[in-house]
Symmetry: C2
Subunit: 350 residues, 2 copies
DNA sequence: ATTAAGACCTTAATCGATTAAGATCGGCCG
DNA sequence: CGGCCGATCTTAATCGATTAAGGTCTTAAT
């Protein structure tokens, strides 16, 4: 059975294609009788309605927002911070009646055309490493783009956090409690899958701008407190999982002298560090203080963390994209807030 | 500045539009010299590449999978079971190099055209209440469709769980431990926002088929154990949140006689019930046993639950859709498994 | 009896590409 | 020298719609 189009129906009834189109999109332009006959013939022939692609071409709008995320999709759905952001973005999209097209990123070497072929009106790019080819592909599309967290792209709106300040707030919190032996566990500095101690070069040469700046915030706060950063153990993991956090925790807590406070990049990692502490029988916050980031999975565990306005950020990105305001570059830096719970306290010996 | 199309470039160089098209999609058909000049002119003019919508129209493929979910998008991203499913689906989509178009459901009375206008090759419909208009809109598109969990649509592939059996397994677990005073807390029976005791009519007339059958599974297991179902308190909540679970928990635990075991519909709800138990100073599992569902948020809390193969289900749905196998109706019922942790034990008095 | 106003359809241009088939041309073979 | 071939472009049909502008009748007002 051949494809049924407007023309098929038109021919069947001996009317023009335009008439049939009106029957679907402008019922008031037609007499009731004819419109009804058109509709009858339409479902008699099994017509599926005006082809959305053709419609989209003619109308010049796709009705969707493209979303690019650094990780594989499966991973994105596992990251509470990302999920929070998606919720906000999805709400904005929903309000505007447009869909959210989640695009897979070319993973590995397999060249993919998804960005080039994505039928969208605008792109939201989240957390891409510096120089990632997908960003160039997005920019080549010359559609409105907002980038979230990283990387900063001059000329396009940005939504994010004051990373150095937020990280410094986390660090200063434990420093002000009196901690001097700090440890750091971070994920998402590089995308080379490396897990282990992070050299100064790896810290400062991190390809994810936001995380690089976050690390810088930790460092600056420590140095301002008179702590020698080169003596601060810094463990880097490849995945944002509780298990990875636990591994980092064991690495850090195995040091001599043992850190009395550990700063982490994400709440999930922090939970893993708590697991490690539990493994070792260390009391939190008695013998160890732990700080998370994002306030995405922290509450139930009583984790001290930095709260970010995830959903608001998503909603803002969505609004920028959908209002057409993405034309003029705006830099939306959302506030962060230190949330002190029960995973931090002054060090035991202090 | 007018729009730049293939034709613009062609005119500029005095070649035909087809030639320019070949430059992009079939470089081997052109001499290197001309192709390079075309490319130069293209980015001199700021050409954004072949228009994906036009391309899509010509090629007859959209490069995207549509996903419909019962709740608002923001809510979907908050449900661990859904997220798990999405992960599987996203992975399948990713492997095939297609995007995932998340569609908002017409919420409230506002009529939305998103389903009609979605540029997709197939639809995955998840957890829609009986008779929801969006389903009819999807079917009208006459594209491959797979429905997940509910509702069952004859003639289309289905991916889901043996709900009565899974629910019965949960119920039998506590019954076999010796519990006789059972309570039930469920979410997602109706979409009318009701929270409170669920009459027999509301239980059996639930508009969400899977949940209705799940409730039926609880009932059958209880009756087979000689328990009078009409004496089993059944609390229904409108949202799948920990807070709602806590509310249900308080309602159920406030009964006299107090239930010694509570069956819940989701892990999130179960966590809320645990909160309520904690509020009342009830020991779990000493004085109260709690069973969750889905194994989506259960592990850390030591919750006994029914594990579902969320990700596998998503992957299977994706494969069905992308392989074209969605033509012939298949019914994929994935196995479930009772995971016994530390939230269940024999009742105190037994 | 004119005629202006609607109501209802049709004409035709347009959205931006892809691609099979045909044209042109220089070179190479026998 | 005729002819065939391959490389390189062009022609033209096609994908499936939308919509401004124009035509044709009725109908009602003057």
């Amino acid at each position: 059975m051949a494809r049924v189009t407007l023309q098929t129906i038109a021919d069947r009834l001996g009317v023009s294609r335009a008439t049939v189109s009106y029957a679907f999109s402008r019922p008031d332009q037609l007499s009731d009788g004819l419109r009804q006959r058109i509709m009858e013939v339409a479902d008699e022939l099994g017509y599926a309605g005006p082809n959305p692609t053709a419609r989209s071409l003619r109308l010049g709008r796709a009705g969707a927002l493209g979303l690019l995320f650094s990780e594989t999709l499966a991973y994105a759905f596992a990251d509470p911070y990302a999920i929070g952001f998606f919720q906000g973005l999805a709400t904005a999209a929903e309000d505007a009646g447009v869909g959210l097209l989640i695009l897979p990123l070319p993973h590995g070497d397999r060249r993919s055309e998804t960005v080039r072929d994505a039928v969208v009106d605008a792109f939201c790019v989240m957390s891409l490493p510096d120089g990632h080819p997908a960003l160039a592909e997005v920019l080549a599309r010359k559609l409105p783009v907002v980038v979230v967290d990283e990387p900063y792209v001059p000329g396009h709106p940005f939504v994010g956090t004051d990373e150095p300040a937020a990280a410094a707030a986390a660090a200063r919190h434990v420093l002000e409690l009196g901690h001097r032996r700090i440890g750091v566990a971070m994920v998402g500095l590089h995308d080379d899958g490396h897990t282990g101690w992070a050299s100064r070069e790896r810290q400062e040469g991190a390809v994810f701008e936001a995380m690089r700046r976050r690390a810088g915030g930790y460092r600056q706060a420590c140095e301002e407190a008179g702590i020698d950063w080169s003596g601060v153990p810094f463990y880097e993991v490849a995945r944002n999982s509780r298990e990875a956090g636990r591994k980092a925790g064991h690495a850090l807590l195995g040091r001599d002298p043992r850190p009395t406070a550990i700063l982490t990049n994400t709440d999930v990692l922090a939970l893993g560090v708590l697991d490690a502490a539990a493994d070792l029988g260390l009391a939190v916050p008695g013998e160890l203080s732990v700080v998370g980031f994002s306030d995405s999975a922290a509450e139930e565990a009583g984790l001290t963390t930095i709260r970010q306005a995830k959903q608001e950020m998503g909603a803002a990105a969505g609004r920028l994209l959908l209002s057409g305001a993405a034309a003029e570059p705006e830099r939306l830096v959302f506030p962060h807030e230190l949330i002190v719970r029960t995973s931090t306290a002054p060090p035991a010996h202090a």
